[in-house]
């Protein structure tokens, strides 16, 4: 499989004081589904931002599709063929939908990407209508973003990146703030996109969705370094690793009169299995 992103010893420091990522060496291949796991503030969002060429490493090297990513390539007023190719190829779902939904109606929001691709107006219209139909959001078509619920906003955010048909999807906490039904809807969409061959990189601390949407897991520790990079099942069964990364915690509660303690993730309320005869 072709390597699409390659990071070599990448570090990122905010305002020269606060370290967000430290000595990260990773590569992502086309068609992979990867989960980046980490506690709040571990640097997951910064990593996605670097992968989307919105933030540039303070040190180290980052290349995408075999081309080194430099600030000068993207932050220029001159038209740049590679920058256009990259933006077409990579879609980014932001954690906060209000950042992503900047147009005045849902239709305009979804049409924004295709318009940037310089597609003819009829094609933009057709694509936008098709994405709206695909996600079943016809009833939201002419609504303003401030009139949408959290789940609806997330649907429109996804529609807005799918309308440019990116091959790589970077999802930042996609299930954050969603009710269970919207979460299931989102997981199914991600699974469908994975089946269609899209590369999906998801930053999350929602352990419930990890195995459903990814095959590979990368754990970013609170020291902003990569702790583990392997298959999902191994990461999810390594409770010590998850605890050291602050993704699960030791939890104490009662079963009748018996006090009981075990490792516990808070994403599903008190969902755990007891070994026979042990409480």
């Amino acid at each position: 499989m072709e390597t699409i992103f390659d990071l070599r010893d990448v570090s990122y420091t905010y305002i020269r004081r606060f370290e967000a990522l430290k000595n990260v060496t990773l590569s992502f291949k086309a068609g992979e589904q990867t989960a980046i796991l980490g506690a709040n503030g571990s640097g997951k969002s910064t990593l996605l931002s670097i992968l989307n060429a919105l933030t540039y490493p303070t040190s180290g090297e980052f290349s995408a599709f075999g081309t080194p990513i430099k600030e000068e390539v993207f932050d220029t007023l001159e038209d740049n063929e590679f920058a256009r190719f990259f933006r077409k190829k990579v879609g980014f779902l932001f954690q906060n939908p209000d950042i992503q939904l900047f147009s005045s109606t849902v239709f305009d929001e979804i049409a924004f990407g295709p318009l940037q691709l310089d597609l003819p107006p009829d094609e933009v219209q057709k694509r936008t209508e098709e994405v709206i139909a695909m996600l079943g959001i016809e009833n939201l078509r002419d609504r303003a973003p401030h009139m949408l619920s959290g789940g609806e906003k997330k649907k429109v955010c996804i529609a807005s990146i799918l309308s440019t048909n990116p091959d790589v999807l970077l999802l930042d906490e996609p299930t954050g703030g969603l009710d269970p039904r919207s979460q299931i809807w989102l997981i199914e969409i991600i699974q469908d996109l994975a089946k269609a061959g899209k590369t999906i990189i998801t930053a999350t601390h929602d352990l419930d969705i990890v195995e459903q949407i990814s095959t590979r897991a990368i754990v970013v520790g609170e020291d902003h370094t990569i702790h583990v990079d392997c298959d999902c099942a191994s990461v999810m069964s390594n409770l010590d690793l998850l605890m050291s990364a602050n993704l699960i915690h030791r939890h104490m509660h009662r079963h009748g009169k018996l006090l009981h303690e075990h490792l516990h993730a808070h994403s599903k309320e008190h969902d755990h299995v007891h070994e026979p005869g042990v409480v």
Partner: protein, 313 residues
């Protein structure tokens, strides 16, 4: 560990506690509730713009240009009868566009005392508009002066002054009615895009569009600040403290908005934005748009000709 003081449960207030009902709202509370009334009205307006009425069925560009031309013509008209007819027409169009007349009148006339009334009050008196007395206000006697200015011996409201004030108020009411009708019957996004037909640069259209979108978000943030403060306020604070709090929140909102604008820009870049603004305009002009445009232009030309005494009525 929970500290000891936190483990104490206080008893409820004594049954004999005085319940006082304040009559005045604080200035912050009043300002915020007024802002939210305005935003709620904006949402109502948006639903009016989606109704199937006469003006809603017209092309937004035609509506915008027609209204601008009509407002220009009305501003030049001095004949009170013509102004009354045009004002009556705005009411008819409001009715045909399924805008509740009571709501429409309220929206228009709330501005009139502010824009026209205060300005026109002096014009009513013979001090500024000499003429036939309608109502006598005061008898000052001969040689009355206000500083260096000589005043008439009798202060009256004159017929001419009243007609002048009425004409001005009606002219303002007609212009405001036309503008309000345009805003009420056109979805905001289409209205902003139609500004392109008046050659307004794309960057201004995009900026206005985004301002309108984010003003709701920031209004919600401000409401959050105030609600959070209210929920933890045990007693009223002195005015100076309230003002300090407002100043502090304004600063915080500014920092937050700067931070957000940077992230929104990143979101735009992420989806291919490179500084070249592209706007999808989905307009189709029908026969009714031509008819509306020609009718409004004809009426406007007629009003201008009458105002310039080129046509006598």
């Amino acid at each position: 560990m929970i500290p000891e003081w936190m483990q104490k449960i206080e008893a409820g207030p004594c049954a004999c506690c005085t319940v006082s009902i304040g009559r005045k709202k604080g200035f912050v509370q009043k300002a915020i509730s007024d802002i939210f009334t305005f935003f709620e009205e904006c949402l109502v307006n948006d639903s009016i713009a989606r109704r199937k009425g006469l003006l809603q069925s017209l092309d937004p560009r035609v509506k915008l240009i027609s209204m601008v031309v009509l407002i220009f013509a009305v501003a030049m008209t001095h004949d009170i009868r013509l102004l009354a007819i045009v004002y009556g027409l705005t009411l008819v169009f409001a009715y045909l566009s399924k805008v509740e007349i009571g709501f429409f009148l309220k929206r228009v006339w709330v501005f009139i005392p502010i824009f026209a009334g205060i300005i026109m009050i002096p014009i009513l008196f013979n001090v500024f508009t000499p003429g036939d007395a309608l109502v006598t206000i005061a008898n000052l006697g001969p040689n009355a002066h206000l500083g260096p200015f000589a005043l008439p011996s009798v202060i009256t409201i004159t017929v001419q002054g009243t007609m002048l004030a009425l004409t001005f108020v009606l002219r303002v009411a007609t212009c405001v009615s036309a503008a309000v009708l345009l805003f009420l019957t056109t979805p905001r996004d289409l209205l902003f895009k139609s500004l392109r037909s008046l050659k307004v640069p794309k960057v201004y259209v995009l900026t206005m569009d985004m301002c309108y979108r984010y003003i709701f978000l920031f209004a919600d943030t401000v409401r959050g600040f105030y609600t959070a403060k209210k929920s933890r306020s045990l007693k009223s604070l002195p005015m100076i403290e309230e003002q300090k709090w407002v100043g502090n929140r304004i600063g915080y909102t500014l920092i937050k908005s700067l931070n957000m604008s940077e992230k929104v820009h990143q979101a735009m870049i992420s989806r291919g934005f490179n500084g070249d603004i592209k706007i999808l305009q989905r307009y189709s002009i029908h026969r009714r748009d031509y008819v509306a445009c020609v009718s409004v232009f004809a009426l406007s030309i007629f009003l201008i000709l009458v105002s310039q005494n080129l046509v006598k009525i």
